[in-house]
Structure formats: C-alpha cells, structure tokens
Symmetry: C2
Subunit: 390 residues, 2 copies
C-alpha cells in the first residue's frame, strides 16, 4: 500500500496545465488567468470628484467664504474653462476636476442663492478629489496565475481588457462500467442497480471547472470497454468507475493494458476507496475509480479535483484543508487515512455514525470529509481536526 | 438613514421564489430542490456482497471449514440456485447474496483448490453482507428545499430520479448608466472611463445562480433610460448601476418614477454604498445601485445575492457570516455598518489599508468583507469579528 500523498503525486504527474485560450471578459470568471493583465490607462484617468458638490481652489476654503458658480462638470462632460479666484464649478461624482480647482466642497456644506454659494460655518476637512491614477496607473498588472473572481473581473474591465488569456477547461470523459448498472429512468432487472457515481462525479468535477462527458455505460465485456475507451480518446482525462478491483470480472485493467496502458495499480492506504488505477490509455491520462458509490466520490474529491485544478492552471492545486473542533471523542485510527463523512456546523465537526462506503444517504447528509491521518492517536472532543468541505 | 437589516427586509420583499421547473438530473447541481425526491426502490434492492469472496451459510463458518463451490454470482448476474450445507458460491462485490447463504468470506481468508475452498485459521468476524435497503428504502425521501450538491445528485440517481423539480434560475438585467462610460475594448473620450461594475456584478450574480443579461450602457437621457427599462421588462430583476444618487444628473429615479415605480429611495447606514433605490418598474422588481465601483459590488453582495437566493428557493436566503480573529486593533466604528475589504488567511483577518470606495485594486486584493456593526466599540488584535467571504 502507498500513502495518499504518494498516490496524489503519481496521479498529478499524469497531467499538466492545458493550453492557453482567449475568452471574453464576461466569460472569464472562475477561470485561471494565464498571462498578466496590463492596464492600458490609469484609473481615474484624470483627477475626479468623489462627491457631488462644488470645485474650488483649496486655499480659498474657509467658513462663510463665497464663490460665484461659473459652470458645471458632470461625469462624462467636464468643464472646459479654468476656475479662478472666488469662482466655483458645480461638480458631480466622477466628473473631472476643472483646471484651476483642487478641492471639492460637498453640497451638504453649502448654501446656494442663484449663482452664488456660501460655505457653512463648519466645513468637512477633506478635499474629495480622487487623484489621477489613485486606483492604478497605466502599466500596472493583475498578475497570473490567478483564479478570477468577481472583483478581478471588475478590475480587468476598468483596465480596459476586453479579452483575457486563461487556461483551457479540461474535458473529462466518465465511463461507468458494469453489467449491474442501468441509467436513471430505466427499469433495472432483478440483479441490477441504478448508476449513480457517474452523475455525482459529473456534478463534482463540473463544479471544479471541468467539462464532463458522460459516456454510455460500458458492459463487462472487452468490446464494450474497448469502445468506451475509444470514444473517450479526445478527452483530457478518462475516468472509469468500477472494475478497478481485483475481482475476476474486473476487466478494466486488462482492456486498458491492451490499449497500451503503462499499468499503475495502487492500493492506497485510505478509507474509503483503497484501489485506484492510473496511467495513460490511448495516450490519454486515465484514472480508474472503485465502484463503491462513496469510495468513488471520495476518491474523486481527493484525486480528481486536484488533477482538474492542475490542468486549469490553479496556483494552488490542492484544495485547502480547513480545521475545526471535533464534537466527539474519537478512537485511534488504523494504518489507513480515513476520510470520514461528517457535518460541519457552528458547534464544530461531527462524524456521521455510519461510515460504510456503500451509503449515499450518509454522503448526501455530510458537508465535510473529516480527515484522520494514518495511525492518528485517539482524541477527545474539542480537539482540532482537519477537514475538506464537500 | 435606515439600517442594513431594514433595507435587506425591504429589498427581499420585492421578490419571491420563482416557479418550479423540471431539469434533467445531470443539470440539477447547484439548483434548489423544490419537491421531495421519493425513492422508487430500495438500495441495495437485494442483500448484496460488500466484497469479493465466497457466499456460504454463516453457521458453518469456522477455522479450516471446507466448502464445495457450486457456482458464481457477479454484479448484474446473480446465482439462481440455492446454497446448501457445505456449499459455497463464488461472489463478487455488488452481486446478490444467493438463496440459502447469509455470509461472505472474503477471498483473502480462503485457500482454493479446484472446486474446493478451505477457510484459514483466522477468519474476520464480519459477514460482508449489505442488507436489502441498507442505504435507503423505497419511499424514503430527499427533502425539499435543498441546495443540490454532488452527493445529492448521486443519491437522487440511485433513487432512480432522472428529472428533478427545482426552482427556476432568475434572469437579471444589468443596466450600467452614465455618459462617462464606455465598454471594455472601446476607446474612451478624455472625460470617460471604462464600465466595470456591470462586468463584476455579472460574475458575482452568475456565481450566485442567476442568468445575467448585460444591457447596452444607458446614457444620461430620459429616452435612453426608458429604452433600457423597456428592454429589461422580461427579466425577474432589473439592476441599474449609477444614477441612484441625488445629483442633478441622476435621472434613473425620475425615469423609473415615470414608468410607474413606487419609489423607495433608501439612505442606508452602511459603508461603502449609502444610497440604494428599490421598487418595481414596469412591474419588475428593480434595485438601483450606486455608481461607485466598490459600493456597487458591496451592495451587490449584501442585497442582490440574497435576492437571487430567495428567487432560487434557497432555504437560507442570507449567506452565512463566518468569524475569524482580527489581526489588527481597530478603532470604534461610526454610525454606519462598515463592510471593510479584508484578507482572510490562516493568521486571521486583516482589513486592507485603503478603504476608499473607488479602489477596485483593493477589492480585487480582498477575499473577505470584514463586518463592523454600527457603533461597534474599538477592539484589540485577537478579537473575533464577523466576515463574508467574497
């Protein structure tokens, strides 16, 4: 058996960052920036008013000072003249500060009579001028790599970047295998069950950023599996579900080998989900997940999500583990890392009672995987433990 | 001025859960379940083997016991006969337990010679039988409302639910207003800037689940604004950006009033983003955001995201506030709730130095809004504060 960390290193080694593509700014959120965004202009591009009020010379500002209003500056329509001594320009938020002025009196501090304004007895001591380049200067950058969030998109727009260079999203082909499976909506035979893993994994991997193709269920025959692998040839990653064990009916490894897989078959010191197959089939990176529903979902979280993140160019390939207080005493762990289905709440984290790897009801009830390291000692309630949100 | 809570109650009152629609299981992740999913079958639908091994009668299991292998049960292909005394059936994970058997010896505990097996001296004391209905029984439910995550999708598949009833995603029309704006990629005039808020808000609201339509920039004229509102008539929510202040050039309120808006103009005790307009225009819920970049993004987070969540049927309309240790001393807060751009890390939460509402560089650098309540007292580094991840 190898450790989860070793298995992760090996599976991550199968994939690389995908090529870079241009996407319109409005489709770039959630993608990973591949090339720096360079501001082609400063923001604000001119000194501008931060408030509605009157632009004047700052040296003239004092209680009861009077100014004659000689014009108006609105956002998008500056005042073309120059503000002289004793003069003011009516100004609105975002408008350029007119020549000659360097101070904005907010309108709340002013009494207006016709074309004359008089300052109040108390005036806020703040110029309300946004200097040119206050936010950023031409040439400033948003540095790659970076996962683009809403605030970054707004900033990129402000820098006048209509298209961004990002890593391509990986295409993942999912192949559920097994004569016992039918797809939801079909009527199962007496010995059959409904395929569930592929649907859950599709949701998980799409949330991580992949484009997922659900291939038809492969039957437990060599032709059926060979056909499935062939259909998956154009994907960036092929994932099989089931058939990755050592049972006589688990043909996936045999068929993969016939298709040129340098076979890597791992028994990983983890619960759930001990067996995992990984390699390249028809020159496409391939991971074979166990068929047990919860095992396949947990292995998807631990191994596939980081692979997707690596292909998408994520600066942090491994999702960050969080910590919380355990609400329960827990016995010492055995030799395998245990990813316990658990509920995280304001009170801390509570492992669910039933941890059998066949129970999707328990996985659905969980919102976290509580991580117990191999040979971790027993702990008392209140101890800090690591978890991954799911 | 009204409090953030009052303003939230008023804006949330403008919208309701949208109608329910059917979506294929594979497109349901992230949506909110509107009707319970009822399992049409039990899982497993028969007692089944949890491991690869041999199915026997449990009463016969003891060290060195011998059995003759009379057949095979694979997943999808059960054994049709009955297991008698001294008999075993080769069985694989997921296969139905044959009639007459009630125990699976794992293959690791068995020596095989031809059609005879002999148990080892030490046998694991576990039957490896998954009872019928161990995961769920026919009639069990996934209860609505519920935000559907990957584990729920797998469980719904397993319950044989090919389509799910979910709330429709809201359509949001975004209208940026102002003569000073051009869209990214255009060449701005000397008094102009690039529209950024609408692009950032689109990313934010789409992440929250909305379908966002970016309308053309509306100019500071009544016909242009009227046209924009008319284009937005089929949306579930209209959001204007800019023009929601009290400046003489802010026409949005006037035009909205002409189009039948019961005007609600709020000065909210919050920083950034004091002014907010809300009501119904042409019978569509409408929110007018301030034009300042950071103000509009923060107001989007505080007011629009909960509205989206309510329309999508979220059981928790308000995103959950988290808590962390402040890494800094902070002075007492004024009368307005302050949503400070901050960075949350393993060390705690650190407000960024510059909190002016025009700085998108600061918003982009932040990953949290640190929340200071109105009149909150001064705190020391190490104190627990609330925040919203962004």
């Amino acid at each position: 058996m190898i450790s989860v960390e070793e298995a992760l290193a090996k599976t991550l080694n199968l994939v690389s960052e995908l090529e870079v593509e241009s996407v319109p700014l409005q489709e770039a959120a959630g993608r990973v920036l591949a090339c720096d965004i360079v501001a082609t202009r400063s923001q604000p591009p001119f000194a501008s008013s931060a408030m509605d009020g009157y632009a004047v010379k700052g040296v003239e500002v004092e209680p009861y000072a009077m100014f004659s209003v000689i014009g108006e500056a609105a956002a998008g329509h500056g005042f073309s003249g120059t503000v002289g001594a004793g003069e003011a320009v009516r100004i609105f938020t975002g408008a350029p500060i007119p020549k000659g002025a360097d101070y904005v009196i907010i309108q709340e501090d002013v009494a207006v009579r016709g074309k004359l304004i008089t300052l109040d007895s108390e005036i806020e001591n703040h110029d309300y001028v946004r200097p040119l380049g206050d936010d950023f200067a031409a040439g400033d950058r948003i540095q790659a790599p970076r996962v683009l969030r809403a605030g970054d998109i707004a900033l990129a727009a402000s820098m006048n970047a209509p298209t961004l260079q990002v890593y391509r999203r990986p295409i993942v082909a999912l192949i559920a295998t097994g004569d016992e499976l039918v797809i939801p909506g079909e009527v199962p035979g007496p010995d059959q069950i409904i395929a569930s893993n592929s649907f859950g994994l599709k949701a998980m991997l799409e949330e991580a950023g992949a484009q997922v193709r659900l291939l038809p269920i492969a039957r437990d025959t060599k032709p059926s599996l060979t056909q499935a692998f062939t259909l998956a040839k154009s994907a960036d990653l092929v994932v099989t579900i089931g058939g990755a064990s050592v049972g006589d009916h688990d043909l996936v490894a045999d068929v993969a080998a016939e298709l040129g897989m340098e076979r890597a078959f791992y028994k990983i010191a983890m619960r759930p989900g001990k067996p995992l197959m990984a390699g390249r089939v028809l020159d496409v990176p391939m991971v074979g997940l166990p068929g047990n529903p919860v095992s396949s979902m947990v292995c998807g979280q631990i191994f596939l999500v980081p692979m997707i993140r690596k292909m998408m160019g994520h600066p942090d390939v491994l999702p960050r583990e969080l910590t919380a207080k355990s609400t329960q005493d827990m016995p010492a762990n055995g030799p395998r890392a245990h990813y316990m289905r658990a509920i995280i709440s304001e009170d801390g984290i509570t492992p669910l009672l039933r941890q059998d790897s066949g129970l999707l009801t328990v996985l659905s009830a969980a919102n976290a995987l509580l991580i117990r390291a191999p040979h971790a000692g027993k702990i008392d309630a209140g101890a800090i433990v690591s978890y991954l949100p799911i």
